[in-house]
């Protein structure tokens, strides 16, 4: 009976996703419709969609696990993410939207190519290499999580779970395009928020109230209530806190998040959406960390802290809500996979086939090709997930920060510094990406596990600025930046 209820909830959710796919299909006949939903999305959709994409299953399993394992020290992650989302919407979104509307750009490499008047297609090829390698690894990891989630909640078996997860995502992504992706992400974001607001309330109530929970945590380990955690005020503690705050840097320039700003209907949607996005990420993160802390008082001594959410949902909620919690885990996985698949497809079809190779195929043919590429990339992710290729999985360790460090410093320089040159931007992309990879492989273990986002981001920034200083910016691009600044107006 219980598993029938859970199964019913999951099937109901999957049917809704399929319906969204059909509904979005009307918009996906050309490239602009398929990749940015015709640039017609309202504020509330882009707000929830960007947050649901930015947070994968890591939010539900990883961050609740961190609240469980390190307690108050995980508040630094809240600071990084909330600041990152706020700064992205306040400073980055409006000039980026203005530029991409002027260029009629539908991908981030589109924007970079036009911004730097690049005729060599260097930005398009470079972006394709970075995005494809990272997306395939990340997609494979998320599909692995999907297989495990289906298997552990419904006993489908790992392989079947991977197939079901990919099948549903591929359907609504290929049929419905970015419109279906954005609206399904909105639904998934709302579900995730509801779950993460409920979890700590129920957890704290079951722990005997706030005071009891804090007393219990103090009795277990006083370091759980210390901002610097078990490290104390040491170099290792500062590095750990800085790494947590740095997670938020990715929100300032990752292409899968910037696409949401491009797809907004107009500037007003961005002004309105920022407030919802910030409230949403606060709910996500505070709920996850406090839920994990409450879980520590209820289930002390778990071998794997990342299982605290399933443990709590099974213990304190009726079967219907356990089904909802499974749906929420699936939602977190799917909202990331769909966005990555469509991002990778856009880079192949728009940037490589149409713009770099100069294909003269019709928009409709290219849109069909985009759907085919989405399936192929998903299939590669499927093979990797089923074979559990070890080398590829190592890439996942830095997939999030790898993409972020390649694009964020360059996007920020291109939006705010008129001295940025084409050569500087290319060098910054390569430098940021390479530093991230090398840091994880060679240096990380010897530097208190410093999160690779910090060296990767700053290396990209310094290299971009240094190379730009010894090369000359395009005069037209300089005048254009002034004009964009004037159109957007002051921030405060």
């Amino acid at each position: 009976m219980t598993s029938a209820t859970i199964l019913g909830v999951v099937i109901g959710y999957l049917l809704i996703l399929l319906a969204i796919g059909f509904w979005g299909g009307r918009e996906s006949g050309d490239l602009k419709g398929y990749y940015v939903a015709g640039k017609k999305l309202p504020a509330w959709v882009i707000a929830f969609s960007s947050n649901a994409t930015g947070e994968s299953a890591w939010l539900l399993l990883g961050l609740t696990g961190m609240g469980y394992a390190i307690g108050v020290h995980a508040f630094w992650i809240i600071m990084g993410e909330v600041l990152g989302v706020a700064c992205a919407w306040i400073w980055v979104a409006r000039p980026f939207k203005e530029y991409t509307d002027r260029y009629d750009a539908i991908t981030v490499p589109d924007y970079l190519t036009e911004r730097f008047r690049d005729t060599s297609h260097a930005f398009r090829w470079l972006s394709a290499i970075i995005i494809l390698s990272m997306v395939m690894a990340y997609t494979a990891a998320q599909l692995t999580a999907s297989g495990k989630a289906f298997d552990s909640f419904l006993g489908t078996g790992y392989t079947q779970g991977v197939w079901i997860g990919l099948g549903i995502v591929l359907f609504y992504t290929t049929v419905g395009g970015f419109k279906a992706v954005a609206y399904s992400d909105f639904l998934q974001g709302v579900l995730m928020l509801g779950c993460l607001l409920t979890l700590p309330v129920v957890g704290i109530a079951n722990a005997g109230g706030w005071g009891e929970m804090i007393a219990n945590l103090r009795a277990q380990d006083p370091a759980l209530l210390e901002p610097m955690g078990a490290y104390g005020l040491t170099l290792a503690g500062v590095i750990s806190a800085a790494g947590s705050v740095a997670i938020g840097l990715a929100f300032l320039g990752s292409p899968q998040l910037l696409t949401r700003f491009m797809a907004a209907r107009d500037q007003k949607q961005i002004v309105d959406g920022g407030f919802w996005a910030v409230l949403c990420v606060i709910g996500f993160d505070v709920g996850a960390v406090l839920g994990g802390m409450a879980g520590r008082t209820l289930f002390p001594g778990l071998a794997d802290p990342e299982t605290i959410l399933p443990q709590m949902s099974a213990a304190f909620f009726p079967a219907f809500f356990t089904g909802i919690f499974l749906v929420v885990v699936l939602a977190a996985i799917m909202s990331t996979v769909d966005s990555l698949l469509i991002l990778a497809s856009s880079v192949v079809v728009r940037d490589v086939v149409q713009k770099s190779l100069g294909s003269t195929a019709s928009e409709r043919t290219l849109s069909m090709m985009g759907k085919g590429v989405t399936v192929v990339i998903g299939a590669v992710g499927l093979v990797v997930a089923l074979l559990e290729v070890r080398v590829i999985f190592d890439f996942v360790l830095f997939a999030w920060s790898g993409i972020a460090c390649a694009f964020t410093p360059v996007v920020l320089c291109s939006l705010f510094w008129k001295g940025t040159t084409r050569e500087g931007a290319i060098a910054g992309m390569i430098g940021g990406f390479a530093t991230t990879v090398i840091w994880v492989r060679v240096f990380k273990a010897d530097f208190y596990d410093l999160y690779e986002m910090i060296p990767g981001f700053f290396a990209g920034l310094v290299i971009c600025i240094a190379v730009s200083l010894v090369t000359k910016p395009d005069d037209e691009a300089v005048a254009e930046l002034e004009s964009v600044r004037e159109s957007v107006g002051p921030v405060f």
Binding site: V72, F75, W76, I78, M79, V82, L83, G84, V85, A86, C87, W89, I90, I214, L225, E226, P227, V271, G274, F275, V278, L279, V281, I282, V286, G489, P490, V491, F492
Partner: protein
Amino acid sequence: MPLDAWLLLIVSVGLGLGLEVAFMRARRRDARAQGARREAR
């Protein structure tokens, strides 16, 4: 919870939220000013 932990939580949430609220107020003020300019014309 110790005072420093509360402080960290409030700053973590308040910094981003405060920036966003200040931004929205500035945008509303600009919109009002633009409206007033249009009416004056």
